[in-house]
């Protein structure tokens, strides 16, 4: 059974009494021990999708359609208590900002052992012993001393290692990592990602890596979902996506990043314009106002997926033939 399968997920926000779609159609799946990347720019809905899986959508936000199947159980249908039981043990999350996601007034020990005591029922002593093991495993030296310290006494890289230890503490089956290294220096970023990938592989944990960095995706992910304006617009293995990107947005992203492994004078070809405001209604394909290939149909109907060899793309003009139209209400 697939560990996590997200189908046609829609997330709404209520503003001024009106429902507005922020995420329209997220869909992807993750297996045990596999790393799936969700790529997108700010406002593409990638973080909201992760929060919906965790059952942590904020006030005014709600799942309005689709399914989140975790080990076959639909998380959109369960109550807050069941979701709470699942967090930590079933699914854990690593957030972007290790400074704001750790509690500044509680020691590392109390934050690291909290989940183990509440969710796994470990005694204080057993939880502490496991905490020391975990700190060793994430490469923190002198763990005895670190347990007594507070977040401000740790560097950014160290704090993120603690976050990883917390995520692993209750032996989850799935970890969601939302831009886990964006705030870190490149050498620390490389350390943290190598560590996260290795631990997930060793423990057979599925990893959803949310990022805007196409290099990180290429180095760490086996499968990729590209999100734009609240929709997954392309889904493929990493190799397919980089070799034969089908969606004009994916192609634009790849042509936008300077690369160290290619000659320096290759000009960048940015996508013109800016991503849509998530609250704004765009008829048809959400990318069409920025798309060089857009035609009349793109402005009228939302493309469904055309598929070839497991590679899916939602575009009227891809190499995979013409897709069906999506139900515009979806």
């Amino acid at each position: 059974m697939t560990l996590l399968r997200v189908n046609n997920l829609a997330i709404d926000v209520v503003r001024d009494g009106e429902d507005c779609h922020l995420v329209h159609d997220a869909h992807f799946s993750v297996d045990r021990g596999e790393t799936v990347a969700i790529v997108g720019e700010s406002g593409s809905g990638k973080s909201l999708t992760a929060l919906a899986i965790m059952g942590l959508l904020g006030e005014g936000l709600s799942v309005s359609g689709g399914q989140i199947l975790f080990e076959g159980q639909d998380l959109t249908q369960i109550g807050p208590q069941e979701h709470n039981a699942l967090r930590g043990r079933g699914i854990a999350m690593i957030f972007q900002e290790p400074m704001t996601s750790l509690n500044p007034v509680r020691s590392i020990e109390s934050q690291l052992t909290e989940g183990m005591r509440l969710k796994m029922g470990l005694s204080r002593r057993a939880a502490r012993a496991r905490a020391l093991d975990l700190l060793n495993e994430v490469g923190i030296s002198d763990p005895e001393r670190r347990l007594r310290q507070f977040p401000h006494q740790l560097s950014g890289g160290m704090r993120q290692r603690v976050m990883i230890a917390i995520a692993l503490s209750c032996e989850p089956k799935l970890i969601l990592a939302d831009e886990p290294t964006t705030a870190l220096d490149v050498t620390i970023q490389a350390q943290i990602l190598a560590l996260t990938s290795r631990l997930c592989r060793d423990h057979g944990v599925g990893l959803v890596l949310i990022t805007h960095n196409l290099g990180i995706v290429a180095r760490h992910a086996q499968n990729v979902a590209v999100m734009y304006g609240g929709r997954v617009v392309e889904r493929a293995t990493a190799r397919q996506l980089y070799r034969e990107p089908q969606h004009p947005y994916t192609q634009g992203l790849l042509a936008s990043v300077p690369r160290l492994d290619l000659p320096r004078d290759i000009p960048l070809q940015p996508v013109p314009g800016a991503p849509p405001d998530p609250m704004e209604h765009v008829p048809g394909c959400r990318f069409h106002p920025r798309c060089g290939k857009a035609t009349e149909i793109c402005a009228q109907k939302i493309p469904g997926f055309a598929t070839s060899d497991g590679h899916e793309v939602a575009c009227w003009h891809s190499g995979f033939g013409t897709p069906n139209a999506e139900d515009p209400a979806a």
Partner: protein, 347 residues
């Protein structure tokens, strides 16, 4: 080849900040943020300073902008020592050197319209009569790819990329020669970042601008800059032309930085053997002995722990501060299949 005087020459720059403690705020030590940095920037080119947080790159930029006082060393702008300029010369200098900052949210005054933000330097320096300021603002907006109606908007009404264009338009208002870009594209989304990089490059070509480009993203710095210096803990570890530096890095730190950057290509990545650099950057308040990089260096010897290497010429226009530079180059050439470009051009 002509021997034109560089537009900017930084010679043995030191900047220290006192550490104060206690009720009387007594000075108990100092942070040596910049510790003997020298480089020069040729007119019409881009010079990049790369490094991780705390390496002193922003402090160098601030010293060049005359926003912090160096504790030692000389900064020559167009041959003149910027610390010895009188008020009038400083005023002129501030017009010729402008800055674009990282965060387009906090570097624009939220209570001023875009037209006032861009028009203010023009008025203050009296570059145009008041009646022509508006049309000058519209011209600058146009150069930076923004429609004229933006002059009446406020920063909060614009996206990050648009705001960064306003920051660039404001810098251009003074008709500068040198623009210091401090992480100017770091906070932007990928597709927007490429637009701003292209804009900076076009402006350089059209207006003959010189850039001092501060960044931490190696691929962006390599793309924009003709020459690059890699900084570590307040010192330059290695400096060379951009192509040469990235093709044949000689300092193990440069090599580690390049290794840490993942390429957007799964096949290239699958073929790379990468040992991430261990450890973290030490505190600049408590510097290591000898070579500052030795605690993290995979090839450090006992000499590295005791003596600090100076920046020595390793090839024409390529200098490196490492006792084992030859050895690390060998390692670099064997460990990484993509480093096939031969040793820099012979003189």
């Amino acid at each position: 080849m002509t021997f034109e005087r560089p537009l900017l020459e930084v010679d043995d720059l030191h900047v220290s900040f006192p550490i104060r403690q206690g009720m009387l705020q007594r000075t108990v030590g100092e942070v040596r943020a910049v510790n003997g940095v020298s480089f020069s920037v040729r007119r019409g080119t881009s010079f990049g300073l790369v490094g991780e947080s705390g390496c002193g790159k922003t402090t160098v930029a601030r010293a060049v902008l005359k926003l912090v006082e160096p504790s030692d060393g000389v900064i020559l702008y167009d041959g003149r020592d910027i610390s010895r300029m009188d008020a009038a010369a400083t005023q002129r200098f501030r017009g010729r050197v402008q800055a674009v900052f990282q965060d387009p949210f906090s570097s624009l005054n939220p209570r001023m319209s875009i037209g006032r933000i861009i028009g203010e330097p023009i008025r203050v320096h009296g570059l145009k009569p008041d009646s022509e300021v508006r049309s000058e603002v519209l011209r600058l907006l146009d150069i930076c790819g923004l429609p004229g109606r933006f002059a009446d908007l406020y920063p909060h009404e614009m996206s990050g990329g648009q705001r960064q264009r306003v920051g660039i338009a404001r810098a251009l208002a003074m008709n500068p020669e040198l623009i210091v870009c401090d992480e100017a594209v770091s906070a932007l989304d990928v597709s927007i970042q490429a637009q701003i990089i292209n804009l900076l490059e076009e402006l350089q070509k059209e207006l003959g601008l010189t850039y001092l480009f501060i960044g931490h993203d190696l691929s962006v710095v390599r793309h924009i800059c003709d020459d690059v210096a890699v900084m570590y803990l307040g010192r330059i570890a290695e400096t060379a032309g951009s192509d040469e530096l990235f093709a044949t890095p000689r300092h193990p730190y440069t090599q580690a930085l390049i290794d840490a950057v993942p390429n957007p290509d799964p096949d290239v990545e699958a073929g790379r053997v990468i040992e991430p650099l261990q450890g973290e950057v030490p505190s600049p308040a408590n510097l290591p002995s000898g070579c500052l990089f030795h605690p993290r260096c995979p090839i450090a010897t006992s000499r590295c722990r005791q003596e600090a290497p100076s920046l020595e010429k390793a090839a024409p226009a390529h200098a490196v501060a490492c006792w084992e530079a030859g050895a690390s180059r060998q390692a670099a050439l064997t460990s990484s299949p993509k480093k096939t470009i031969s040793q820099g051009a012979a003189p």
